[in-house]
């Protein structure tokens, strides 16, 4: 089987799980997917909108491997924020849709890292990669920050984690009140390995905290994308290195070592 495909897939289901949030099953012979990888979806048979939209893989439908996962399709979890995601939300089971992926590099699985040292930090839709990642690190902690009860509900699939799941909301409606960085502050230690996905402000704060504590930290970034495969050079993110200033989120990310990123320019 190819490692990456560009294929017409079948929409299996497209369920509203709460206002503005959907789970979509897309059926195609799925190559291995690493946690943190994404697909590019064509949202309409039209050139308006023109570009595909990137969405992270939430689940792989079907069998599983060890670090990576293949199967007969993927489940996506998305929020309607604009026209592309709105069009996605109107699609019905049975419709076909062009899928390109899986793309990008997932979260790095570092040799010798013990599951117990891993802290996964998610904010809002940044929850997506952790459903796969927690299968890799069954003992990991998952700290999830949400704006309110609706967003906090996204963590329902993670309930089985028991006390290893900690939720915080900005309005205090679920879990503790506050930002997810407050949770992290309590848990972080020198030996922690942090995997984070969420809004830029959160990632910046997490990266800064990891730096202070001397923990390794990997962040998943977002950028508007055209190609998804590293050729348009559109999804650039500035790095701290002098020699090669920009990295491409689609092909060199979306997950980066947090010390690599120029957080001032993000």
């Amino acid at each position: 089987m190819e490692t990456r495909i560009n294929r017409q897939a079948h929409l299996l289901y497209n369920r509203k799980i709460r206002d503005g949030y959907f789970r979509m099953g897309v059926g195609f012979a799925t190559p291995e997917v690493a946690p943190g990888q994404f697909v590019m979806l064509r949202v309409a048979e039209s050139f308006d909108p023109l570009l595909r939209r990137p969405l992270g893989v939430y689940k792989v439908l079907g069998s599983r491997g060890k670090w990576a996962f293949k199967g007969t399709g993927v489940e996506l979890l998305y929020r309607v924020v604009g026209r592309g995601t709105h069009l996605l939300s109107t699609k019905e089971p049975g419709e076909t849709m062009d899928v390109l992926g899986p793309l990008g590099n997932g979260f790095p699985v570092i040799n010798g890292v013990e599951s117990t040292k891993v802290i996964m930090v998610g904010g809002g839709m940044g929850i997506v990669p952790f459903h796969l990642l927690r299968k890799v690190f069954p003992e990991a902690l998952f700290l999830f920050g949400a704006r309110g009860a609706v967003e906090a509900g996204l963590a329902s699939d993670f309930k089985g984690m028991g006390r290893k799941l900690k939720i915080t909301t900005e309005d205090g409606s679920v879990g503790t009140k506050g930002l997810v960085t407050a949770l992290l502050k309590k848990e972080i230690t020198k030996g922690s390995v942090i995997y984070a996905c969420g809004p830029p402000g959160m990632l910046k704060a997490v990266a800064a905290m990891a730096l202070r504590e001397g923990s390794r930290c990997y962040v998943s970034l977002e950028r508007a994308m055209a190609c998804g495969i590293g050729v348009c050079l559109g999804c650039a993110v500035k790095t701290r290195k002098k020699e090669k200033t920009y990295k491409m989120v689609c092909s060199e990310g979306p997950v980066f070592d947090s010390t690599l990123i120029d957080w001032e320019k993000l």
Partner: protein
């Protein structure tokens, strides 16, 4: 019966008239998983400069109605790395490679051309003249016939063995003047169009969306403008023309071919579907069969009242 789609341009025979457009197909290799590179007429690689360039700050792209803007800032690995790292890989693929080049001065253009001349596996250079001349206060080579003449003459001299294709900017009052200028400078062929300068404003932030403010518009939105310019150029020269702009399907490519293009380049479409260019090849083949005609007969067959 398999149709013969091959075309000869500037003394080089290409398998078919469907090429990829510079900056939209990387160095070609990135597409190996998604398309059959050997079915392409040519791969035109990302614009190369003398030194590697890191490109513009982000955001660099934004979607527009039926199009997109880019202000990549011509990020590229530089001509040396291209020759030593990319070209050997590309040579293994049975497809023609065209190097797109640019510079900030006439000397830089000709230096890049010189290095590429004789590089194994290269079939032509395409000169992107839609760049500001830093020595002339930023006047864009491609919008001033005198500057265009100078830069193309210099490349023509530097690239002793390689055919030279000049890629024109659409951002001119009269394309015929530019066609004449680069023809006089000795170009072997002309490709057009490059992107159209454009801007999108973020009305919430009251800032341009792109860090660079202005970017180049590409995609289906610009196709009718590109077809018109190709046709105007056709009437101004007998040089081979290569049509570019918003080609998404074989039908789109045929518009350019019928208007007089010897070949076409597929650009933005490769982002929407990395297999676009090969689908265009298939579609042209189907059209020729259905209409019992040949590429030669079709090219430039536009009838106008």
């Amino acid at each position: 019966m398999k149709k013969d789609l091959s075309v000869e341009i500037a003394g080089v025979r290409f398998k078919n008239p469907v090429w990829t457009a510079s900056g939209t197909f990387g160095y070609g290799l990135e597409f190996r998983d998604f398309t059959d590179l050997e079915r392409l007429g040519a791969v035109v690689v990302k614009g190369l400069s003398l030194k590697p360039r890191t490109g513009n700050p982000a955001p660099r792209i934004v979607e527009t109605p039926c199009g997109m803007l880019n202000a990549i800032g011509l990020q590229n690995v530089g001509v040396e790395a291209f020759i030593t790292e990319k070209l050997p890989e590309l040579e293994k693929i049975d497809t023609r490679i065209v190097a797109n080049i640019f510079g900030e001065t006439v000397a830089e253009y000709s230096e890049v051309a010189k290095r590429l001349d004789g590089a194994p596996g290269l079939s032509a250079v395409e000169v992107n003249i839609s760049c500001p001349n830093v020595k002339k206060g930023g006047i864009v080579f491609g919008t001033d016939p005198k500057e265009a003449f100078r830069v193309v003459s210099a490349v023509r001299k530097a690239a002793k063995r390689l055919p030279v294709i000049t890629k024109l900017s659409p951002n001119v009052t009269d394309i015929k003047v530019m066609v004449k200028a680069v023809e006089d400078a000795g170009t072997d062929a002309i490709s057009l169009i490059n992107t159209i300068p454009a801007m999108v404003v973020d009305v919430e932030k009251r800032r341009p969306v792109l860090a660079n403010a202005i970017g180049g518009l590409s995609g289906p939105a610009i196709r009718p403008v590109a077809v018109r310019l190709l046709w105007e150029a056709r009437k101004a020269t007998r040089l081979p023309l290569i049509g570019i702009g918003g080609i998404m399907t074989a039908g789109d490519a045929l518009e350019f071919i019928i208007a007089g293009a010897a070949a076409v380049q597929v650009g933005t479409a490769s982002f929407i579907d990395p297999d676009s260019a090969v689908r265009v090849v298939d579609g042209i083949e189907g059209y020729l069969g259905r209409h019992r005609t040949t590429l030669k007969e079709l090219t430039g067959s536009l009838e106008v009242n």
